[in-house]
Symmetry: C2
Subunit: 498 residues, 2 copies
């Protein structure tokens, strides 16, 4: 058994090493790489992913894992869970033909490069053939993994274990029933919120300085984290001691980078506070996209758009932008960051309309992965759904179907995690508030007790527990989207004096 | 044969892929990685370098290469040269035990991290045990490769094929005989050059903007190159379509980053202009460190410190730093960038004293690799040689033995390339001047004809020719350091009105 454990660990370490190298190359390619470096990156990723695939599907790993699982009672909790998850991913990977898998890694790399350019040029046709390849692979992959289940359910399960269209249809129906009338009330009866003071240019080097302030406020450890710049902000964790957030500065949109930094810092906070005993294992990372988004959206919205947090950042904004902020009160800033307004861009959307943006993507992905629609039809359907759900006209694909990076990265089934995450976050808040005066804590400027609370309930467990189980234990009851509806109702009733 | 060629290419591509991934990880680790990411990087590099080593020493590669070399006449020039170089490096690598090689990759990674910190803290003792490991490996490696030759000759040959201590002793003796009296004349009889206008703070964001100007002036293609920031500036080429330069901005030293950017852009210009037919082969990179340094130092000194180049950058400096540059004339700037002054830091050294800095390192490396001195004695010997060659007192190890990154990266035998490179550059200039009015061309602001000339003579060949052969063909005669002495004498006689 000790030998088996040792071999198992060595194999997992090797697989992790390949993953580490590939993630680093990805990070480089979307932050600092000159455009034409991409071709060689694709080739290198092809070589590395082939090796990773071979290791991940090797007979050696299979027999080790099998033996460990046969003696599960004798294993420590970490190794037992690792063996379980390895077996799971083993069984999946084994079903995907290697040549298709390797080709896919290279296709994703190419597609990401093309997407960046297509978005700049607002040219969907340029991106379409690449997207088709990715869609095809994902449809096939889902069938390889479980031919009995609808393909989209298989993909959803990848991002949030146990998630299905049935559950999501019910969830989104509830959200829709709560959000749509609330938004209607806001638009018809809410007070007018002035955001004209934001319609200025805010120098990017000052915004960079402000990001440093935010990262400090959020207690991000400088020795273990850093910020980069990219087209579409994301967080990537190489280990719990090397977590990178990214942002995109827009001179004319102060709030865009501000809240993307708080959002990504939320993801990073999760990763930075994984239990030390998990650090060098395959469990040393966030457990699911839904739980991850619950953290990013908790900090971005629940904390970050609270009156107390706005109080913390107001002074620094005035210091950095004395002219731009002249005459702007703290209350005006608070209202401005909470203005609800149907819009075109998901990442710029307010807390209230956000779920509607996600619903558009959910409806599209359902149809696309089922093969009910094809890639060429995406722009039309996208624009129709934006009109239906948000009442807005999409002027071009750059502000429409090309806005998000997810599909270019091969992620289909990720988007619902954002809405689920928001709902998890609201439920977590209600429990936290029973034990702590959360917003008094924010007001004090010391977020550490909040981070500590979440570390104890969520972060430290890494992948040791399943997402549903984790949320249920943290909250003391099963997941219930009603908390989310109640939270939004209370907040927007107050903000808009309904 | 066609099958052998195909397998050979596939194996080389794989080896290149590993190299690519490792270089990317290295680049990340010294530009943007938070400090504590280093541990995991070491482990990953261990895994990747083991695979690379296995491939590079595999029986499959050996038999392919052997077969190709047996039919060398039937091969195209590129494949023939690749086979030749592969056989050479194969024969070397095969002699190094794999466990030592893999351990060394990890040791280098650790040593680089420690060196960065040790330099900041000026703490040689902290770095010494790591340096000892690297020295030991290099001594052993040299003996493995060729037990007949003095170990330092084996290492010199790695950086500049054919270089030996015998040749270098003769070269440095000539340089010393030329430079020492010239420097003496400058110090005793030269006019006083005022550099007080540089003793100000130059805002780093403006310096960043200036770097962009320089890269444009030097015709660096934005789609194929980029600039990063690091402790100790270097250039790294992943492919000819992805070349990165780096710099380090010091608010109180405008010229430091300015000339490091021109220097690194010189390296980059070489890589960016390798022949397209070599791009995806193992020959698609600069042929040796000496030839590489000839290019970086050609642009940095011969072009970059010419009156004509100073004329090109003067206006932009005035635009970016109107207050700091107030009252400074173009002629004052020209004299300031050419002031000769014995000093402590090699990378900040002027064109005239530079070779003396290199000589200190050469003398130390000779003794260190021969085992005549040990690591613990380095600071003392360093300080003694600086006193002897440059007449300066070294105040601490940060400004002494810890200043350069080379040894922490395992490079022993690299330093002489800088001096050799300067001498190559001066000889190349003399030939170029026979065919073109070089400085009139600089004055025009269009450096392209100069780049084109060097592309035809040097860049396009990549590793297709040997360094000595390349320089000899480009110059039409063998290498002769007299051009370098003559160039320095003419220049400093003019600058100092001797």
């Amino acid at each position: 058994m000790e030998n088996t454990k040792k071999t198992f660990r060595e194999l997992l370490d090797k697989i992790q090493a390949y993953g580490h190298a590939m993630s680093k190359m990805y990070y480089d390619s979307v932050t600092v790489m000159p455009k034409r470096g991409n071709e060689a990156v694709g080739r290198t990723l092809g070589v590395l992913s082939e090796e990773e695939y071979k290791l991940s599907t090797s007979e050696e790993l299979k027999s080790c894992t099998k033996e460990l699982l046969a003696h599960k009672d004798e294993l420590d909790a970490i190794t037992a869970r690792e063996a379980e998850l390895t077996w799971e991913s083993f069984s999946k990977l084994e079903k995907i033909p290697m040549d298709e898998y390797v080709q896919y890694q290279m296709d994703v790399n190419t597609a990401q490069g093309v997407w960046h350019e297509a978005k700049v040029k607002s040219d969907f046709a340029m991106f379409a053939p690449h997207l088709e390849k990715l869609v095809k692979f994902n449809r096939n992959m889902a069938r390889y993994i479980d031919p009995e289940k609808p393909p989209y359910d298989v993909l959803l399960d990848e991002y949030e274990k146990g998630m299905t269209m049935e559950k999501l249809d019910e969830f989104f129906a509830k959200v829709r029933a709560g959000v749509v009338p609330l938004l209607k009330a806001v638009m018809e009866r809410g007070r007018k919120i002035d955001v004209s003071f934001l319609e200025k240019d805010f120098a990017i080097d000052k915004q960079r300085e402000f990001s440093e302030f935010l990262m400090k406020l959020m207690r991000m450890d400088k020795e273990r984290s850093a910020i980069g710049e990219t087209e579409h902000p994301f967080t990537i964790n190489f280990t719990k001691n090397d977590v990178r957030i990214t942002t995109h500065y827009h001179e004319d949109m102060l709030l865009s980078s501000l809240y993307s930094v708080v959002h990504e810092a939320g993801h990073a906070t999760y990763e930075l506070n994984i239990g030390d005993e998990l650090a060098m294992t395959t469990l040393g990372t966030g457990v699911s996209m839904g739980v991850h988004e619950s953290q990013s959206r908790f900090y971005e919205n629940i904390i970050g758009r609270s009156r107390e947090f706005v109080g913390l950042i107001y002074g620094e904004l005035v210091r950095l932008f004395p002219q731009e902020m002249e005459g702007v009160t703290e209350e005006q800033l608070y209202l401005a960051v909470n203005r609800a307004q149907p819009s075109l861009i998901r990442t710029e959307a307010d807390e209230l309309t956000y779920a509607l943006h996600v619903m558009v993507r959910y409806e599209i992905e359902k149809k696309l992965i089922a093969g009910e629609i094809e890639v060429a039809e995406l722009p039309k359907l996208w624009n129709e759904l934006y009109k239906e759900y948000l009442g807005v006209d999409v002027p071009d694909d750059k502000n429409g179907v090309l806005q998000d990076s997810h599909w270019s990265g091969g992620s289909f089934g990720y988007f619902p995690s954002y809405a689920i995450g928001s709902a998890y976050a609201a439920q977590l808040l209600s429990v936290m508030e029973e034990e702590m005066d959360v917003f008094a804590q924010v007001k004090s400027g010391d977020l550490q007790p909040i981070i500590d609370w979440l570390t104890c309930r969520i972060y430290k467990f890494g992948c040791l527990k399943k997402p549903g189980e984790l949320i249920e234990q943290a909250c003391g009851k099963p997941f219930d989207p009603q908390y989310y509806i109640d939270y939004l109702t209370k907040k927007f009733t107050e903000v808009y004096k309904l």
